[in-house]
């Protein structure tokens, strides 16, 4: 779990996506049983905030079904002090990235931290359940830990900041 403290959380927001990241997104969507959708790249905190204020039920439910399935074979303690240290690191990283972009929206910073927390939790759950490195939660985590904020599927597009 300590490796999560050293990742590049939120360090590449708004930067152009590379080929490897496009491939990661495709594999992630395919792994969730969703179609390979066009990508919308958000360019600001405000745009990211506006996007994720929209419902994204189909995508959320696809992830949720997988989380529930994994929880049949693995359980994690949300009050584990080492895990909480990771969540504080995520909040700090979100706050620093937002400050660098001139965003002082405390709620939106917490939203970003909560999104990364959710992704890190899913990745730990997949690991604990013995899922392979190609599991969609591992792929999403790779995007987060590489500095991105995957925002989800809105309409017919996958959004990422």
């Amino acid at each position: 779990m300590s490796a999560a403290l050293d990742e590049a959380w939120f360090s590449a927001l708004g930067e152009p996506l590379g080929e490897a990241e496009h491939a990661e997104i495709s594999a992630y969507l395919q792994g969730l049983g969703l179609p390979d959708l066009p990508v919308r790249a958000a360019s600001s905190w405000q745009e990211a905030g506006a996007l994720c204020r929209q419902p994204a039920d189909a995508w959320w439910q696809a992830e949720e079904a997988e989380r529930v399935r994994l929880q049949c074979s693995a359980r994690l303690d949300p009050a584990d002090p080492a895990w909480l240290q990771v969540t504080e690191r995520l909040h700090g990283a979100a706050a620093v990235a937002a400050a660098r972009s001139g965003c002082a929206d405390a709620a939106l910073i917490r939203v970003a931290a909560g999104a990364a927390t959710s992704a890190a939790y899913q990745q730990r759950l997949a690991q604990a359940a013995g899922a392979p490195a190609s599991h969609p939660f591992m792929r999403k985590y790779a995007l987060y830990s590489g500095g991105r904020w995957p925002l989800g599927v809105y309409g017919e597009r996958f959004a990422i900041f």
């Binding site: 994720c52 419902p55 949300p78 009050a79 909480l84 504080e88 405390a106 939203v111 931290a113 989800g152």
Partner: protein, 234 residues
């Protein structure tokens, strides 16, 4: 404020009268358990009820902050000698406020708006506590508690923009609020008298409850929401 001298360390704590130590343990245990119950029965389940990723992720972060509050109080409970069985949620019945089943997003927003307001008052009363490690946890926790209550208020402000939303918020207030004043304990409490004698807490249960009810009223009134009548024990 009490003239009781400040107790700066765990070592100094162990030199205090048994009555002081017991009083501190009761408060620390209560906060540790309440933070855990709140996270388990309200904050974590709310992630599924939230309508958008924005609200879900914000709820997720709030849940983590509440778990972190629990851990901070639990670490102090361990240091001050609270027995592990006293910290087990299986052995300690939760406050009535935590027995309300969480069924809707509107209900969660109301619980954050009014329930976390109650927690703010409890933490405020520890900001000048004679036991410095407890005071420091209160001071560390307070900004997040304030954010949580504001989170609830902000979402309620959005919800009451429609008649249907206002009805749901009003129903949630009607369901939650009547139990909330009990969060402040019985009038004429012997425990509270001891807390004040040692400068652990500042105010009586009655004073805190009256303040809470006034602040709750001024919080909901601008939303066009009314508080149901509450019958207090004599």
């Amino acid at each position: 404020m009490s003239a009781y001298p400040t107790v700066k360390t765990i070592e100094e704590f162990r030199q205090q009268p048994a009555e002081y130590q017991d009083a501190v343990r009761k408060i620390v245990r209560s906060h540790a358990l309440n933070e855990l119950y709140g996270a388990q029965v309200f904050d974590e389940p709310a992630i599924q009820l939230a309508p958008t990723p924005y609200a879900k992720w914000l709820s997720c972060r709030v849940a983590m902050e509440e778990y972190h509050h629990h851990v901070r109080f639990k670490e102090l409970a361990d240091q001050t000698g609270v027995r592990p069985e006293e910290m087990d949620t299986k052995n300690k019945r939760p406050l009535n406020i935590f027995e309300l089943p969480l069924e809707s997003w509107e209900q969660f927003c109301v619980i954050k708006m009014l329930g976390d307001l109650a927690e703010i008052l409890q933490v405020e009363d520890l900001l000048h506590c004679s036991f410095v490690p407890l005071r420091n946890i209160a001071r560390t926790t307070m900004p997040e508690e304030k954010f949580h209550a504001q989170f609830g208020l902000d979402f309620c402000v959005d919800l009451v923009e429609t008649d249907a939303g206002r009805d749901k918020v009003q129903r949630a207030v009607n369901g939650f609020y009547p139990e909330a004043p009990k969060f402040f304990g019985a009038p004429g409490s012997k425990n509270n008298e001891i807390y004040r004698k040692y400068g652990i807490k500042l105010r009586s249960n009655e004073e805190m409850r009256a303040d809470y009810m006034a602040r709750a009223k001024s919080t909901v009134e601008p939303l066009g929401i009314t508080l149901p009548e509450v019958r207090l024990a004599a």
